[in-house]
């Protein structure tokens, strides 16, 4: 008896030492490969982007130290600065429309969320998330062309006067590109919000009804506050999609007409690989990364705050 008890306790002791090992060297062996890939293909390039941004370099010859001059140009050169402004304008379409419309739609279809129609809709609304953005860009370029379906529909309802090549018009190109983004993101937001609504305690709604609250009051004082976290997620995902947009614009307008739909992502691509202004491209890249973090972090804090 005593022997087996002693054996067990020594067994336990070795197990404890092993667990301590697992927190040290052995455990680190598990982290090392992931960290290596991350360091070589993400952390190192990030550091290099910072470094390049302080030089003037054509990518081939010698580079010249220019300090923060490239950053100065990002904020003073109208072409570069406009791309940042455009990205923020795209937020209206990529974020505001899908989130607000998604909330309205989700609230309306909440009661029929389990019906067969809603299940079919779930699949259909996800399609834009599954296909390549490039394909969405091609399809929409054609829809928005001067002989496209959008103009056909407008003519049909008697608005023939406003028809135009939406993506080729200085005044409408940016909103048109924004609508493509809204199309891609609306389904995702709606479904995320709907999933969140299914977790709200129905008793809350009953109590509100008893207090005589109307549908609008219910929406403002129960639905929206309960969905704080889901709304934060939708806003984060869509804001990043707007700031870092590339695929859709590359395919549909290439930044034109003029510079009306130029965004930082595309500008970086042109600067680095067409105009051979690696330093400028890198400075813009640093600004873009900083902007994304500056937008994503407060939204996260806001969501966490509500949880506590």
């Amino acid at each position: 008896m005593t022997r087996s008890a002693g054996a067990r306790s020594s067994h336990r002791r070795t197990a404890a030492t092993k667990l301590r090992d697992a927190r040290g060297l052995v455990g680190w062996l598990f982290v090392a490969p992931a960290l290596a890939f991350y360091a070589v293909f993400v952390l190192r390039p990030i550091t290099l982007t910072f470094q390049y941004s302080l030089y003037e370099w054509d990518g081939i010859g010698a580079s010249t130290w220019v300090g923060l001059a490239n950053y100065g140009k990002v904020f003073t050169d109208p072409d570069l600065f406009d791309s940042l402004v455009n990205a923020f304008q795209l937020i209206v379409f990529f974020s505001a429309i899908p989130v607000v419309l998604g909330l309205a739609i989700a609230a309306t279809i909440r009661r029929i969320a389990e019906s067969r129609l809603a299940l079919v809709a779930r699949t259909v609304l996800f399609l834009p998330q599954v296909i390549p953005l490039v394909a969405a860009g091609i399809a929409w370029s054609w829809l928005l062309a001067s002989t496209g379906v959008i103009n056909q529909l407008l003519t049909l309802i008697g608005l023939g006067g406003v028809t135009r090549a939406w993506l080729g018009d200085f005044a409408t190109a940016l909103p048109a590109v924004g609508m493509i983004g809204a199309w891609v993101l609306l389904g995702l937001c709606t479904l995320l919000l709907l999933a969140g609504m299914s977790k709200i305690d129905p008793a809350l709604y009953e109590a509100a009804r008893l207090d005589g609250a109307g549908a609008w009051r219910e929406f403002i004082s129960i639905t929206v506050p309960s969905l704080r976290q889901e709304i934060a997620v939708c806003v984060t995902v869509t804001v990043i999609a707007a700031l870092a947009s590339f695929d859709i614009i590359y395919i549909s307008t290439q930044g034109g007409p003029g510079n009306t739909t130029m965004v930082p992502g595309l500008q970086i691509f042109y600067l680095a690989f067409a105009e051979r202004e690696v330093g400028m491209a890198s400075a813009l890249a640093v600004v873009l990364m900083a902007l994304v973090i500056a937008c994503a972090l407060p939204i996260q804090w806001f969501a966490k705050d509500g949880k506590r």
Partner: protein
């Protein structure tokens, strides 16, 4: 009663309307693809003589066979390795809680929102210096690194909720850390792993920026990158472009429809966690 009934009908109408808007671009691609090659059809109009052969011509023009093979190879290179490395790191950070786990986790989280455009320029020179430009490795290796923040984040979220007793009893039976990982924790993590696999598959298959910057030859790119080249080449032949676009988006569509439940679940969870 009457309001509930009306609400349900408004809801249904709204749903149908949304589905129509979602499907409109697909319908337009399809109808346009059937027009005679080189035509400039007006809006949604069913052609007098549907040219089903356009799909075949687009298949040949886009070199679809090669493209499918190339995308499959890239996915096979990226997804299994990313899953393995992400699961191992997530296990060590979330369950073993290695020394310094918090710091290392924070380091990975920093990369979660990174726009790929932020690193594409140095990545180009790095890949060039490694002699990998214009090979599939130019897409595979960076993507593994770029997917690490999400993979580690995702798997850690799973492992952090696994009870410690599970491992202690296995350790008593003399299992080493690798056996503990392989025999006990990986099987239990399968739901999280398969969701991760679906998301990584989708993100790899649809990756565009890396493909157009790092690989010139469309037949060595991802499907998405190849579609970009196809547009450049056939941009003026609208019906052919539409047929090609439809063909290129078909594989993800088919896989989505087969695994749709998993997909919807994975995508919803994926954006919630990320």
């Amino acid at each position: 009663m009457i309001t509930a009934w009306r609400e349900a009908w408004v809801g249904r109408l709204l749903l149908v309307g949304m589905m129509a808007v979602t499907l409109l671009p697909f319908l337009s691609l399809f109808v346009t693809a059937l027009h005679p090659s080189g035509a400039y059809p007006a809006g949604l109009a069913w052609p007098d003589d549907p040219q089903w052969g356009n799909f075949l011509r687009a298949f040949e023009a886009a070199n679809m066979g090669e493209l499918l093979k190339s995308s499959a190879l890239i996915v096979l290179g990226v997804v299994p390795i990313s899953i393995l490395l992400g699961t191992m790191a997530g296990f060590a950070i979330g369950h073993l809680r290695v020394i310094g786990a918090r710091v290392i986790f924070l380091l990975f989280v920093l990369g979660l929102t990174l726009p790929f455009e932020g690193v594409i320029t140095p990545l180009y020179y790095q890949i060039r210096d490694m002699g990998l430009l214009n090979t599939r490795w130019a897409i595979i290796l960076p993507l593994i690194g770029l997917f690490m923040p999400f993979s580690v984040f995702w798997m850690r979220a799973h492992f952090v909720n696994m009870p410690g007793e599970l491992s202690e009893s296995a350790r008593m039976d003399g299992a080493n850390v690798w056996q503990l990982f392989r025999r006990i924790h990986v099987p239990l993590a399968m739901p999280a792993i398969s969701s991760l696999g679906i998301l990584l598959f989708l993100w790899t298959w649809n990756q565009f920026l890396l493909a157009i910057v790092l690989v010139d030859d469309p037949t060595k790119r991802t499907m998405s990158g190849a579609l970009g080249a196809f547009q450049g080449q056939w941009g003026t032949d609208i019906p052919l472009l539409c047929a090609g676009s439809l063909l290129i988006l078909t594989p993800t569509l088919v896989i989505f429809l087969i695994f749709q439940r998993h997909f919807v679940k994975a995508l919803l969870q994926g954006s919630l966690k990320g």
